[in-house]
Amino acid sequence: MSITNATTIDEALAALAVNPKARVIQGGTDLMVEVNFNRTTIDSVVSLRRVAELRRWHVDDDAHTLRIGAGVPYAEMERPPLCDHAPALAEAARTVGSPQIRAAGSLGGNLGTCSPAGDGLPVLSALDAVVHLRSQSASRDVSVHDFMVGVKRNVRRADELIVAVTVPLVTGFQGYAKVGTRNAMVISAASACLVHDAVAGTVRLALGAVAPTVVRARGAEAWLASQTSLVGTPMVSEALAREFGARAAAECSPIDDHRSTAEYRRHAISVLAQRLLLRAATGSATALRGIRQ
């Protein structure tokens, strides 16, 4: 087994070009669990830990976009200044594991693992993120919706790195909510991200842990737009929010597993979607009460 401790993206891509069987490691919070429990055989490893380029993010004011390097840790997403540019991503980041996990874990790793319960993924889906992939010979941009193809399956080719994601800067409420068996250190049993674009007049809702990949509730989104104007602050009654939640729940295909049951997950989605929509209508962001970021 050999290790390449890359310091640049090009160096990492060169190592992958020579040996596409090599496993990529960033924070290690998914991969090392597999290694420690002998769940995977590893031939060689390309470590991205020291690739500074992957740790950067920047806002493009002209394009109204935010580009986040694949190696930026959750700990950075949850704090200013990054949290101000993508509040739902900050909320999702705050729910990941523990401080130790958030200091190491990244969106590149969340996308690489591609678990339907990955907390970054509903946010990327609701924001229609673009995933930037690069190999030594080519680059391509893939919509996050096309990137995720099944339970822990994505379209990344073996010689490619996920280098970054780009999301639009949206005016309007955005929030993330998750249900698990307790508050800290828990993988989602069900989760949802809602993004309200107050200028375009749209609401986008992505659901986590209730289908083989994170999915969008496009039926519920379209129905909501047909019921009320979504430009500016939306007018949302309790009844409307309840119906929106019920429609979102009808669109997912959850299963029974060791974390939860299909029935509970469906119910949780209806409640999460309803709450997020009511929060959008009242404009209430949830700062972590009492915690200075």
Binding site: I25, Q100, G290
Partner: protein
């Protein structure tokens, strides 16, 4: 990668790690190869925090760090906190407040609390809870641990005047 070696800088000292399997965790290498058993291992899946070390200024689970990728990193373990063999303020407050029972979780907590107080010298109770939410203790029920952290925090504030 037998016959090859890599270097780790732990508590300010450079160590050569030889004849190691490259997939070994930093936790394993610290304990089994470098003779630094202060860092504890229980779950080896990031859940318990007993393996917490500081790497490049961040508190991380050493069980989730592939040791051979930690070259060039500055690693601080619980052994590296005390100066001249004297317990640190945090270690002393854990003793004084009765925050240690079986002691298995203690090294990870001590590291996590040092990391907290070094960044945020006056954490609120909620901030303390948040900072040690990745460290599981099966004995104390946490009450005395919180008390120990408050004592260390208040003593630091008093010393500053």
């Amino acid at each position: 990668m037998s016959n090859e070696f890599y270097r780790l800088r732990v508590n300010g000292v450079d160590h050569e790690v030889r004849d190691a399997w490259a997939g070994e965790s930093l936790l394993y290498v610290l304990r089994e190869r470098l003779g630094l058993p202060g860092t504890k291992g229980a779950c080896e899946q990031g859940e318990c925090g007993s393996c917490t070390v500081i790497m490049d200024g961040e508190a991380v689970c050493s069980c989730l760090v592939m040791a051979a990728t930690a070259v060039e990193a500055d690693i601080v373990t619980v052994e590296g906190l005390a100066v001249d063999g004297e317990p640190t303020d945090v270690q002393q407050s854990f003793v004084d407040a009765g925050g240690v029972q079986c002691g298995f979780c203690t090294p990870g907590l001590i590291v996590a609390v040092h990391h907290l107080l070094d960044r945020n010298p006056s954490p609120s109770d909620l901030e303390i809870k948040e900072a040690i939410s990745g460290n599981i203790c099966r004995c104390t029920g946490y009450g005395r641990i919180f008390e120990a952290v408050r004592q260390a925090r208040d003593a630091r504030a008093a010393n500053k005047g």
